[in-house]
Symmetry: C2
Subunit: 346 residues, 2 copies
Amino acid sequence: MTKFNDTLLRAARGEKTEHTPVWFMRQAGRSQPEYRKLKEKYSLEEITHQPELCAYVTKLPVDQYNVDGAILYKDIVTPLAGIGVDVKIKSGVGPVISNPIRSRADIDRLGEFHAEEQVPYVLETIKILTEEQLDVPLIGFAGAPFTLASYMIEGGPSRSYNLTKSFMVSEPQAWQALMDKLGDMTIAYLKAQIAAGAKIVQIFDSWVGALHVADYRAFIKPTMTRIVSEVKKTGVPVITFGVGASHLVNEWHDLPVDVVGLDWRMQIREAEERGITKPVQGNLDPTLLIADWNVIEERAKDIVEQGVEHGAHIFNLGHGVFPDVQPATLKKLTEFVHTYSAQLRK
Amino acid sequence: MTKFNDTLLRAARGEKTEHTPVWFMRQAGRSQPEYRKLKEKYSLEEITHQPELCAYVTKLPVDQYNVDGAILYKDIVTPLAGIGVDVKIKSGVGPVISNPIRSRADIDRLGEFHAEEQVPYVLETIKILTEEQLDVPLIGFAGAPFTLASYMIEGGPSRSYNLTKSFMVSEPQAWQALMDKLGDMTIAYLKAQIAAGAKIVQIFDSWVGALHVADYRAFIKPTMTRIVSEVKKTGVPVITFGVGASHLVNEWHDLPVDVVGLDWRMQIREAEERGITKPVQGNLDPTLLIADWNVIEERAKDIVEQGVEHGAHIFNLGHGVFPDVQPATLKKLTEFVHTYSAQLRK
């Protein structure tokens, strides 16, 4: 094992780094031929439930792209099964839930979360990776309560979250009970990942951009504040992220998070103009990874420059890698960001 | 015919009104039982191509809800067939295009738009409505070039616009050629609607929120400026609207539009804090129309108050009416906004 590369952790804490660290959301999985080959032999469930397989998939992009962090190969709905949610990942669709929440009684029926009993394979994967294999930080993660609740109430992915938002505003007490339960679960899940070896965590509030600021403050922020405060007690840095949530960026900055994740819609310099002083993560538009390399380089250059100007910056995409992206592109991009940012940060 | 109600037009021009005018995006169509009954007998194409039927559908919500404007019952892709795009509206999917744009040659093949020859039924519908039937303004509309281009390049609806954005940045000259053609079409289409009797127009750039500000300025804004400037020569007010585009609201305000449409993510008072001084339109979250009435009223009250404080305001939803909304809810909501705003505006 070579020397541990802690660039990602230092950037997350706002410290000076020699280069801008890089990782990509969804860097492991469908965009990799090795993964697709594995899928011919094993189901998604088999891969995520067998720690050795899951560790292999998680580590692959680190070896191939030379990124500065490994993100655990898991879905954000993983912990829900343990508390009594009948969730399946349906290929081409996403998480599908056969017993969606329709009332307060459905919420009261949800059980307690115990990571060691309910997701031992997640913790085992982290241990394999962090004790023996990785020379970069393992990034733990969890879905945020709003995003998880949206799956639990809609019964699957949604474009507009009609049932979720209607439930939230019509039954605010039941909603808070749900947030409390999902908050407890998320705290326990992230703490368990950290205890197993995760050195940094990201909270995916992927779909919370569907709310306006006033609703975010009333229905979401107290729970998010509690989660982040609790997780921060472990000492590891916390990143927050969501899609189409530029209007909530100041709310996120208010949370005790270390890093504010930006999707591609708000550039780093605009976030700065809006008062974002914390380290930022992002934000190359992932749709552009199928464009010509000169376009990708030009965009990456601009983002690296904005990041250096901002100070602490973790280079990432504005959302996950699409399946049709060439691994060679991600390798080249990582190398470019490393080299160019090292020149600027000298 | 009763006295013509021009409240919508006066609000759009920033003039004082006795009450806040109301209309709802997608107020005509699937949420109305009369429409669903019509659909048992006629196809969508038959309804939109037969001026009398289309006028009936367009006028229905005006009679039933007492809204202050009638929006032409049409899809934004309607004019594309005329310039050579093979587009069909597929039920449950949206516009599907069998000959998507893949190259500059595909763009060069697009024909010129002539409203009188290619969409005579649209103009005839407007004439029927405005010459004889309506005592409120007929709202004409068109899709904006980015949004139309996204259908033309992806071949249908998309969640992430990968091909569109990749084409835009990789082939900027071809992209501009497409924007020029769609710009010409949009100008001609809106002018023809106005000549036929439309008293105000809305430009739907529904999906442009997928771009960040810098790309909006480089690839979209010049064409939008040209369209709005040309249409403004007719003297009718212009509204602009898009979904998930809060980060572009100042760009829209920069265009020579009269009214800035807001989806539900950015409240009117926030828009004001960001420097939006023009009349605004919006912005009740349409997903909440299935919530309890007391929630709807509380939300509507807040929006009316913000609108009165702002000055000129057109009450609308933050996006279109969903099919499962009860007509009685829209009627009650219209009445509430009229009554409550009249008290405040005294």
